[in-house]
């Protein structure tokens, strides 16, 4: 998903109206960076995987 800066800033204002105005452009940049990085997970086949209700490290190796 691609999102331009002005759209990102509008979204931030909708989600959290308490964000100091000076932070909004920085957050917009961070959001765009996250969206770009997250694309790496979009192509994974996770079809059989539910999110674990409780994360446990054990495996039966």
């Amino acid at each position: 998903m691609r999102i331009d800066s002005s759209t990102a800033e509008a979204v931030i204002g909708l989600i959290d109206a308490d964000v100091p105005p000076g932070d909004v452009p920085v957050l917009a940049g961070m959001l765009r960076a996250h969206l770009a990085a997250f694309e790496a997970l979009e192509g994974l086949d996770l079809s059989d995987l539910e999110p674990a209700a409780r994360f446990e490290a054990a495996w039966d190796a």
């Binding site: 961070m30 959001l31 960076a33 996250h34 990085a37 999110p51 674990a52 490290a57």
Partner: protein
């Protein structure tokens, strides 16, 4: 410096048992070291000398009547200022926590006390273990260089002998990073192995608590005291706690140690770091381990999975306090916490699903290659200049979350929940320590400690560090 402060926990414990010196004398030596180093290094947020003297005197009384509790009895240790300490301020490096005094001890602190340890004080942390600030703590190896974080005070205190061991927390590498940079030993245990009850959360599904020490044996001693089920931590495991010292000297003959050169030795890895960690591989191979090249392509997703989990969890953990105390947070922390609110819920859930896929991929690689552990550099670089250790998104309109440089190697074990040990394996640029990371199977802390110990006894990096930071070899 006083010779007693130079001792390992194991050696000091033997001395206390034989009554060669008292717990009070041992504490005084460590407090003298605190006085000697703190004006320059600032490892402690607060030193609780009076309470520590009372605890040491109580330890002496018990030991004198044959009621020795174990190897930590009378040993001076420090605790990261993220852990609740009853009656002692716990401020997490933040103005937003100023003056907060918990009414109870974190389970990890309670267990240290039950083992007879003497709490010297609370160590400096980056704000809430999340801050992007330059820490007040200085690097004793090179004062212009970043000393590690977020358990920065714990790392420095242990390295210079102002504590004999310390507790840290690790959400993306925050025990192993300072351990590597200080040239000491740091262990992030298996998820669920050590209780987080009473430790201020950063990310519930990634947070771990563990020890930083000067030797692997000391690490085994501390882990033995703090590990175990705690009904107050819903993620705590009931898996039995073994004697972590029992097999330490068994060596690595026949162990299979995987190395993924694609992930851990890619672009950005300092050539000296790579060379020193490869030297460590050769040390272990000469001791009888088999070095097994592996490729686990899924590792490349560790940072995006981990950050997509960490950021919303951190924002949820701070949601109420951030609204009340916004102006009391540092700029970098505030921005990170504001940002976590913006990650879509579907992304968070997708990252939780991807984490199971990631964990299964590592499990399958261990099974396929019959691995006992993975070996890797603890960090891709030795460290960085202090002024470069701040988040680089401040003040720019094109901000970015670029923590991956320091957390790429560490966060694998947080996302998978696996035990990971950092042990010193050399000096880059003549005076910057480098760490070897050993990542094991779930609850196989004894194996990673055994591997670390096999490396430690075949090298002289402990003595080199002590000579550099404490005046001369032990």
């Amino acid at each position: 410096m006083h010779e007693l402060a130079r001792m390992t926990i194991a050696a000091a414990s033997r001395g206390l048992e034989r009554r060669s010196f008292s717990a009070l004398e041992l504490l005084d030596a460590v407090l003298a070291r605190v006085e000697e180093t703190e004006p320059r290094l600032h490892a402690y947020a607060r030193v609780t000398a009076d309470a520590a003297r009372r605890e040491a005197a109580a330890a002496d009384r018990e030991i004198s009547v044959g009621r020795r509790r174990g190897p930590l009895h009378g040993i001076p240790v420090a605790v990261k200022d993220l852990c609740y300490t009853a009656g002692v301020a716990t401020e997490a490096g933040s103005r937003a926590m100023a003056g907060f005094v918990p009414s109870f001890d974190a389970t990890v602190v309670r267990r240290l006390r039950e083992a007879g340890a003497v709490i010297v004080g609370k160590t400096v942390t980056h704000e809430f273990a999340y801050g992007q600030n330059i820490p007040v703590t200085r690097n004793p190896w090179h004062e212009t260089m970043y000393p590690g974080g977020s358990s920065v005070g714990s790392g420095v205190a242990v390295a210079v002998g102002s504590a004999m061991g310390a507790i840290g927390t690790d959400t993306g590498g925050s025990i192993r990073v300072p351990a590597s940079i200080m040239g000491i030993v740091g262990l992030k245990p298996t998820f669920g192995r050590v209780s987080r009850h009473g430790v201020l959360p950063l990310s519930w599904s990634l947070d771990h608590v563990g020890p930083l020490t000067r030797t692997v044996e000391d690490c085994a001693i501390m882990l033995g005291a703090i590990a175990g089920h705690d009904p107050l931590d819903p993620m705590s495991s009931a898996t039995p706690v073994p004697d972590y010292r029992a097999g330490l000297e068994e060596g690595v003959e026949g162990l299979r140690l995987g190395v993924d050169r694609d992930y851990y030795y890619g672009p950005g890895v300092d050539p000296e770091v790579a060379a020193l960690v490869r030297d460590a591989e050769r040390v272990l191979a000469a001791a009888g381990a088999e070095i097994v090249p592996v490729v686990i392509p899924e590792l490349a997703h560790a940072t995006v999975i981990g950050m997509t989990l960490m950021q919303p969890e951190a924002s949820a953990a701070h949601r109420e306090r951030l609204r009340r105390r916004l102006a009391d947070y540092e700029d970098g922390t505030r921005l990170m916490l504001e940002f976590g609110n913006l990650i879509p819920a579907a992304h968070y859930v997708t990252a939780q699903r991807a984490r199971r896929w990631f964990q299964a991929a590592i499990r399958d690689a261990f099974r396929r290659e019959r691995l006992d552990a993975l070996l890797a550099p603890s960090l891709p670089i030795p460290t960085m200049p202090r002024e470069e250790s701040v988040g680089d998104f401040l003040g720019g309109t094109e901000g970015r979350v670029d923590l991956s440089g320091l957390i790429k190697h560490g966060i694998v074990a947080n996302v998978a929940g696996l035990p990971a040990l950092s042990v010193p394996c050399g000096l880059a640029a003549g005076r910057l320590p480098v760490g070897l990371q050993i990542v094991g199977r779930p609850f196989a802390e004894a194996t990673v400690l055994r591997i670390g110990r096999a490396h430690e006894v075949r090298t002289d990096w402990v003595a080199v560090r002590d000579a550099a930071l404490m005046g001369k070899s032990r």
